[in-house]
Every structure is written in C-alpha cells, then in structure tokens.
Amino acid sequence: MKVQVLFFGATAEETGEREIEVSLAENIQANEAFAEIVGKYPRLKSHKLLFAINQEYASGDEIVKDGDELAIFTAVSGG
C-alpha cells in the first residue's frame, strides 16, 4: 500500500523533500512505519521527531492504512 509522507521545516531541510510517496506493508503499525521511513534519512536521527497520521498526532500502535497522510517534523516552535 502507499502513503504520503510530509516534511516541514528542519525535516524538509534534512531530507531535501517536502512530500514523498512511500510503499509500506499492509497492517503496519505507526511506530514501525515511521521507523522505516526515518531509516531512509539518517540526518533525521539527530532530531527529536514528532509523527502525525492524517493531521493528528500518531499513537505508536495505530495501524497505518492505504492512502494515509503521514507527517514527520521536529518539536514545534510557533508562537
């Protein structure tokens, strides 16, 4: 199955990407899915990362579904 993965700010800079499409195994859990994606971009590992699925903060054990919108970003700094 395929999901979209979005990067913002520091993670967009470290990956050189703002949006990618990734193929994942069916019924994969969020923590495994994000570990797999982050594994492709070693420069992300120096950051504390936050993860979202479909515009909500992800819980590690939720199941990723085909067509989901994932996002990987650093601790927020708005305000």
């Binding site: 913002f8 520091a10 515009q55 708005g78």
Partner: protein, 141 residues
C-alpha cells in the same frame, strides 16, 4: 465568536481582540507575540514561519474547545501568521474575553503555552551569518 486562523497577512492586534467581544464581558486579555530583535544575545535579521496548516488549524481548534471547558470564558480568538516576518511584526495573537478578567488572564496564558507545545508551526531564525530552524523545548507527549 471563536476563531482560529492562519494567514500570511499583517496582524492587527487591536482588531483581532475586538472580534471576541460578547455583550456580557468587559475585558479582553490579549497576548501579542512578535519577532524579537535579540534572542539569547544574538541579533535576528528576520524570521520565517512555516506551518502544517490543516493540522495546525485542527490543533488550534482543539485548544479552543479545551480552554472553554476548563476556564470560565466566553470567546477566544487565535490568529497565527506564517511566512517572512520582520523584527517587531506580530506572529501570533491570542485574545480571550471573559466576564471575569481573572479567567481571561489564566486562559490566555494557558493557550499560548499549549500552542507552543502542540500546534505544528515552526520558525526559522535568520541571522547575519546563518539560519536555524528552532526546535521547541516542549515536545508533544
């Protein structure tokens, strides 16, 4: 009326504050966050704000829903600006109207603290000799 907005336009703090006024309230507390010239002794040239807009709006709306259950307030307005901001320009306005000002102060303070912790917006500080994406201290969860 409550509202959460993200814009790249200049923010008019006074006008935003006035949009949260109900008839039974006599005070608005407003937090005006703006671009500091000096951060930790270093001079900033300008800031660049980026947001995950649909998620940022959802998180802002969650904060509004939560603040209204936890504090005795009438109306809340939150507006965050994105894009390039010069020194002194307002990046965020949070206005709270309440019948009793004590609750307005407490709610406004809670909102800016939570916004900085949960709303997916990031700022890049640009200096004369470099730039850095700021990573928040208070990570979600």
């Amino acid at each position: 009326m409550d509202f959460c907005e993200i814009t790249t336009e200049t923010l008019d703090v006074g006008a935003i504050a006035r949009r949260v006024v109900p008839a039974n309230c006599g005070a608005i507390v407003t937090l005006d966050g703006f671009v500091r010239q000096i951060t930790k002794g270093r001079e900033t040239l300008y800031l660049e704000y980026e947001g995950y807009e649909p998620m940022a709006l959802k998180e802002m709306e969650k904060l509004v829903a939560q603040v209204k259950t936890e504090f005795e307030i009438e109306n809340v307005g939150i507006v965050h600006r994105l894009g390039k901001l010069e020194i002194g320009e307002t990046s965020v306005v949070i206005s709270v109207a309440a019948p009793h000002r004590r609750h307005a102060f407490a709610a406004c303070e809670w909102l800016i603290k939570e916004l900085k912790r949960t709303v997916p917006i990031w700022k890049k500080e640009v200096y004369a000799d470099g730039e850095v994406w700021v990573e928040g201290e208070n990570a979600k969860n």
